[in-house]
């Protein structure tokens, strides 16, 4: 703890002038509620937070530099996995879609549908972690265990498909590493049948819990215009009431063929754009993901998954920006090719990085204890913030 050199402020209204000095408190980099190595510099006036200055970069692994030093485009995929490591499938998805656009490849229908199923499963996994840890941040330990139990079932499906539970290297440019195993359709349908009632259970346990609502409603409000100016995306943007989802507004892959809704924050328990709204958007999105998975499994066509994988990846000199909707928000890949077998430049527009940059706008004027609630509600993964 250290005191700043600011002038003492005078507080009127007590007969005499009270002096109140601002204090700087460092929260993190080792703190259970920062979800990784993040340091927040809090400027506080008593219990009120005057300003928050996030310090990031503790997990910087030079992803973009590594990409320029690969021997081919395919080798980037395992690194892309390790950005948002709780939803690795979604990261691969964006990268392969960008590369295919650069190479002008059309992938088989079967591949597209399997990718959508995997991406939606990874959305469920990511949201389960977000919800579970959010409950834990606020003081509810039990929902975390319930979420982990359900997440395990999805990880089993991933493991049966490609052998890995967390970091898959599953989606390849033009195809997939493995086809789905026999009995996949039944397993997926079983899961959907199992999971629907569990969302209700979660709602009873946490979402409509009185203490939880007290801690999250009317806290960390982010108005829609501020959200757009900060270019936040995903549940943080939709929590502010903006109906914007790239799966509907700028469809990629085969997302235009499914029937689903975009949940937005409505301010049911407080103000539109508060922490509870952001939280609730995630719960509703899991329901919609289950809907998409059920449709995709029913429509899954037969075919070969490796027929479009190129032998030699050498795109023409061009640059492409492709954005996809990951669980955290809009993940963009800006890939510049100079006609060789290695990317000239890969820039990742990480949703967590952008969402975190809006944290000070949500926290000013809040209590210290609310910082934890606000930070948890943006759902950051530091692996993706720092890349």
């Amino acid at each position: 703890m250290e005191e700043t050199m600011t002038e003492p402020r005078k507080v009127a209204g007590f007969g005499r002038d009270l002096k109140s000095e601002e204090m700087v408190i460092s929260m993190g980099p080792q703190h259970p509620s920062t979800h990784g190595v993040l340091r927040l510099e809090l400027v506080v006036d008593g219990e009120i937070v005057v300003d928050v200055i996030p310090h990031i970069g503790y997990l910087h692994r030079c992803f973009e530099k590594h990409c320029e030093h690969m021997t081919n485009y395919q080798q980037v995929i395992p690194y892309a996995d390790r950005m948002d490591y709780v939803a690795a499938m979604s990261n691969e998805f964006g990268y392969v879609v960008a590369c295919e656009k650069l190479l002008k490849i059309r992938v088989p229908e079967r591949v597209e549908y399997i990718r959508v199923i995997m991406a939606e499963f990874s959305r469920i996994v990511s949201h389960l972690i977000a919800i579970g840890t959010y409950g834990m941040d606020i003081g509810a330990f039990t929902p975390f265990l319930y979420c982990m139990r359900d997440r395990e079932r999805v990880l089993d499906i991933f493991e049966q498909t490609c052998g890995a539970r967390l970091l898959y290297n599953y989606m390849w440019i033009g195809g997939l590493s493995h086809d789905v195993p026999p009995g996949f359709t039944e397993k997926v349908k079983d899961f959907c049948k199992y999971f629907r009632p569990k969302i209700k259970e979660l709602n009873d346990l946490l979402s409509y819990n009185k203490i939880f609502i007290k801690r999250t409603a009317n806290v960390g409000v982010l108005p829609a215009d501020v959200a757009l100016n900060y270019a936040v995306s995903g549940p943080v943007l939709r929590g502010s009431g903006v109906r914007w989802d790239l799966r509907k507004n700028d469809p990629y892959s085969v997302y235009d063929r499914f029937d689903f809704e975009i949940p937005v924050g409505q301010g049911l328990k407080g103000t539109v754009g508060d922490c509870w709204d952001r939280y609730m958007v995630r719960v509703h999105e899991m329901e919609q993901s289950v809907r998409i998975i059920e449709q995709a499994v029913d429509m899954l066509p037969a075919g070969d998954i490796a027929s479009a994988i190129p032998k030699r990846i050498r795109p023409d000199a061009a640059d492409v920006y492709v954005r996809t909707e990951t669980p955290k928000g809009e993940l963009g890949y800006y890939i510049v090719s100079d006609g060789t077998a290695t990317p000239f430049r890969v820039k990742v527009k990480s949703p967590c990085f952008v969402n975190l940059s809006a944290l000070p706008a949500m926290c000013r004027g809040a209590m210290i204890a609310d910082i934890v609630a606000v930070l948890g509600s943006i759902d950051i993964v530091l692996g993706e913030v720092d890349r």
Binding site: H60, A231, Y334, V354
Partner: protein
């Protein structure tokens, strides 16, 4: 609006500042503008009723080799459903670009990142300091001619 219309409207308003464009480029059409007028152009793109580019999707620093640095802006309109790519180029001897932080708040961290990794200076940025690398790091790691230092604060860098 089509990229062609956006280009013409920018040309009629800013004339000399629009340097170069490729509106039929695959897959993303782009317009190259002068680094000094960038803020005015972006302000126009954000506020004009026909443009309304309310979201800056991405801001990337670039090193085009041979002492040429650049910044690429991907703008999107959630109202009018069109997008455009702005590019600007500077030399590594004078790497100064006008900041668009006052236009789109999201540019704040993106510009800090471009400053950190490429050494591009954004004029008018309120808080331009390193973001991903340590504050006392020397050099700009994403430049193509970057050499990994042998020591950092007396510690040997392992490779």
């Amino acid at each position: 609006m089509t990229p062609q219309q956006i280009l013409e409207s920018l040309k009629s308003r800013f004339g000399e500042a629009v340097l170069d464009a490729k509106v039929d480029a695959f897959p993303d059409p782009w317009i190259r503008v002068a680094p000094a007028t960038l803020r005015e152009i972006c302000l126009y793109l954000r506020d004009d009723g026909e443009m309304l580019f309310d979201v800056l999707m991405c801001l990337s620093g670039m090193d085009y080799r041979g002492g040429k640095l650049g910044v690429v802006y991907h703008c999107d309109s959630t109202v009018n459903h069109h997008r455009i790519v702005l590019k600007t180029e500077v030399t590594d001897a004078e790497p100064r670009v006008a900041s668009v932080e006052s236009v789109w708040k999201t540019a704040n961290w993106h510009e800090r990142e471009a400053f950190d990794l490429y050494g591009i200076v954004f004029d008018g940025h309120p808080d331009l300091r390193r973001i991903l690398m340590p504050d006392d790091w020397s050099g700009f790691p994403l430049r193509k001619d970057y050499q990994v230092p042998e020591f950092y604060n007396g510690m040997k860098v392992p490779y």
